[in-house]
């Protein structure tokens, strides 16, 4: 059985989540827009899920829009808000280490005449709030800065950024897909107008997400059709998936004390991973030493190709990633590491290990031993030609 250390890519479905979803895949199959009893029962599930998500966010139920996942939430937030405010201005500020769901969305807006400022980050992947303040001008309508980074786990000074946005009168969106299972999501405390969540990063199902949209924020819908989600996102709701998202979020966040206890447990596993490999020559942790997600141990390994390392670890029973599950097979080194100032040659050697609810100390110890063996093997000066066996 493999040791799964790729929880930032996706997480297994929690049993409680499956149990919550199951009735909506079977007996409560109705369309929430139907008037009859079967439809009303499905509508009840949808309403309850919305209330539950809203409660976690400290928001009103009407401020929650369900989507197909984090990427769609990011698209709806950025395109939706940018276009709706385009009569006032066409300038967006984001950072250079965002997920591609944000970066590529901004790029498509650039093609439509929007101007986008990509803020740099420091060696640890943090945005400087003062630079953000300086980047906002009279044409700026939207700022989009992620809560925590998917590759290196760095957490942004999100409340400070929110305060600046509020003071400057611009909308603030945050991609909280990676942070959703770990960090406080109270939208007033962190001062966001738009916040993206994805269910499958927090032991919910793939294909479900949510976008918090602060009341009074205009959005141009990106999917046209029926009047679902208060005309912000057309299409018959995926009630089972939405129920799963709500339950998963509740399990992760409803009890801050148990959330923090699990965070502490994960952080100790993460630190074991770090301390288990960092004495290997040419291994360097990436991301912020303190302000980082509790489960993320990301490192650079000099002189190896991250993709080869991940494949080698897989064959030895450790499942990890190079930094992002979305860029597998790419020749380009991580844009996040390049933005953090790492040389392209070094950035090729990225490895991301992310622990989860099921990860044990024993698994981490075994993984460390395997990583050490594999890195040593790959580091051995490669023979220019393989040796002949006998001749």
């Amino acid at each position: 059985m493999s040791i799964y250390l790729d929880h930032a890519a996706t997480t297994p479905l929690r049993e409680e989540v499956l149990a919550a979803m199951s009735p909506y895949l079977t007996e409560h199959f109705g369309n929430p827009s139907s008037l009859h009893a079967t439809g009303r029962r499905a509508r009840q599930g949808l309403d309850e899920a919305r209330e539950s998500v809203a409660a976690i966010l400290g928001a009103k139920p009407r401020e929650v829009v369900f989507t197909s996942g984090g990427s769609e939430s990011d698209n709806l937030a950025i395109k939706g808000a940018a276009w709706a405010a385009s009569a006032r201005g066409r300038h967006i500020v984001t950072s250079s280490i965002e997920h591609k769901a944000v970066l590529h969305t901004c790029a498509i807006l650039e093609r439509s005449g929007f101007e986008v400022t990509y803020l740099p980050v420091d060696r640890y992947g943090r945005v400087d709030p003062a630079e953000l303040d300086a980047a906002i001008n009279e044409h700026t309508t939207l700022v989009s800065i992620m809560y925590a980074n998917n590759e290196v786990g760095t957490i942004q000074p999100i409340a400070e950024i929110g305060a600046i946005c509020r003071q400057r009168g611009v909308l603030f969106h945050t991609d909280a897909v990676q942070a959703g299972g770990f960090l406080p999501l109270d939208v007033d405390r962190i001062g966001v107008d738009l916040l993206s969540l994805g269910a499958h990063k927090l032991y919910g199902p793939e294909g479900d997400g949510a976008l918090f949209v602060r009341q009074g924020t205009s959005l141009l819908p990106q999917v046209q059709g029926g009047s679902q989600e208060r005309q912000r996102r057309a299409g018959t709701e995926n009630v089972a998936g939405i129920t799963g998202l709500a339950r998963a979020l509740e399990l992760a966040q409803a009890e801050p004390a148990s959330r923090d206890a699990e965070n502490a447990r994960l952080a100790s596993l993460r630190d074991r991973l770090f301390s288990g490999v960092r004495d290997l020559p040419g291994v360097e942790p990436t991301g912020h030493p303190v302000e980082r997600l509790p489960h993320n141990a990301s490192i650079l390994v000099d002189g190896v190709e991250g993709g080869d390392l991940v494949a080698a670890l897989d064959l030895e029973g450790v499942e990890a990633s190079t930094g992002s599950a979305c860029t597998t097979g790419s020749a380009e080194p991580s844009h996040v590491l390049l933005s953090m100032g790492f040389e392209p040659e070094r950035a090729h050697g990225a490895l991301r290990l992310t622990a989860g609810r099921g990860t044990t100390v024993d698994e981490v110890e075994r993984a460390v031993a395997i990583i050490r063996t594999v890195v040593r093997r790959m580091r051995d000066p490669m023979p220019a030609r393989p040796e002949v066996a006998s001749a």
Binding site: A311, L315, P383, R385, P386
Partner: protein, 362 residues
């Protein structure tokens, strides 16, 4: 337990090669690892139409086959070395007035060198298996490279560059099979690649026109220059010497009352020399960069047969070592248009001895 990297291009041959290895892996204790190499950017729509081995379709097909035969599957990015050692070398070959042989370069530097080394370092795999039609036999403490059972498909013409160390780590599961047998196996296993057409063109020149590539990689767009006959008389104008290849008949725009062919390409003077059919044939030629599969030549002077193009006719010849690097090849019957840069591959019956690249005639 031995780990074997099965190079999977997404074509029927490498699919069946991997499947055959996977079938016996249970009993041999081998572990087969499917690897698809990204060798050049897929370039989007235009390329997707092609049968190139690096299109997204090829990757999908290779992955599906790996799933069906139950082996792990990884994509390996070798774009950089393939770009330098194969694509740039290809462009530089034309710029030097030669006819480069990219499949041979790919075998020499990519499949049986970098893939072997990466496979060993990353996967702990001591061997590479490919879908080539050829055989390796260990006999008398040496590895011998032998022709495939299917004479029509034999690919030793592209494999003569392999040395003992490489052959020791190479497996050709299709060596004893014919192409129809391979297709039948693919159909029996219901592999999605069973009916895929043969790929004939150079994988990174999908439309078969390399001129664009010369412009892209080396900024060569070609200056018009003279086409001359054997006497040096100007008989036409060409679009740039590197656009021509020895033996070429079409696209010369020269009418001399009988078929004419490119006989020589002279980069220094940007001249293309043409000749009649008999003027393009040769009884003797030299090769450079000689290599012998066994590590040493059979002798200072020896008899063999030579092939100067893939699937080309084979000619009895006498071979003489010249200097450190060269061979002189004298054929019994004149061979048609030996093109500088192409391989001249030597055989002794079933066995591929090695060879070299045809040198420019002084």
């Amino acid at each position: 337990m031995a780990r074997v990297v099965a190079a999977m291009s997404g074509g029927v041959d490498s699919s069946v090669a991997a499947a055959l290895l996977a079938q016996v892996a249970g009993s041999t204790g081998d572990e087969v690892i499917g690897v698809w190499m990204r060798l050049h950017p897929d370039g989007g729509e235009g390329y997707e139409q092609s049968r190139s081995c690096c299109s997204p379709d090829a990757h999908d097909d290779a992955r599906r086959v790996a799933q069906l035969i139950g082996i792990p599957f990884f994509a390996l990015n070798l774009e950089r070395s393939f770009g330098e050692r194969v694509i740039d070398a290809f462009a530089d070959g034309y710029l030097a007035g030669a006819t480069p042989n990219p499949c041979q370069a790919c075998n020499q530097y990519i499949k049986f060198d970098e893939l072997l080394r990466r496979g060993l370092a990353a996967y702990g795999a001591g061997q590479v298996a490919t879908g080539h039609y050829a055989r390796v036999e260990e006999r008398d403490g040496r590895f011998h490279l032998l022709r495939a059972a299917d004479a029509n498909k034999d690919q030793t013409y592209f494999l003569w560059v392999l040395d003992q160390a490489q052959l020791a780590r190479t497996r050709f599961p299709l060596g004893a099979l014919t192409k129809p047998e391979v297709r039948r196996i693919a159909a029996e296993l219901a592999l999605p690649t069973a009916d895929k057409p043969e790929s004939q063109e150079i994988c990174f020149v999908p439309a078969g026109d390399y001129r664009e590539l010369l412009a892209e990689r080396r900024g060569y767009t070609g200056d018009p220059g003279p086409i001359v006959d054997a006497d040096g008389t100007r008989v036409g104008t060409h679009t740039g010497y590197a656009h021509y290849t020895v033996g070429q008949r079409h696209g010369l725009g020269v009418a001399l009352g009988e078929p004419v062919f490119v006989r020589e390409v002279r980069p220094a003077s940007n001249t293309v020399v043409i000749g009649r059919r008999d003027e393009v044939a040769a009884k003797r030629f030299e090769v450079e960069g000689r290599r012998f599969v066994a590590g040493e030549p059979p002798g200072e002077r020896f008899n063999a047969s030579v092939r100067i193009r893939h699937r080309g006719a084979e000619s009895a010849c006498e071979v003489t070592l010249v200097g450190d690097d060269r061979l002189e090849v004298e054929v019994a019957d004149a061979v048609w248009a030996p093109a500088p840069g192409q391989g001249a591959v030597l055989y002794d019956g079933e066995e591929c001895l090695g060879g070299g690249r045809i040198a420019r005639t002084a």
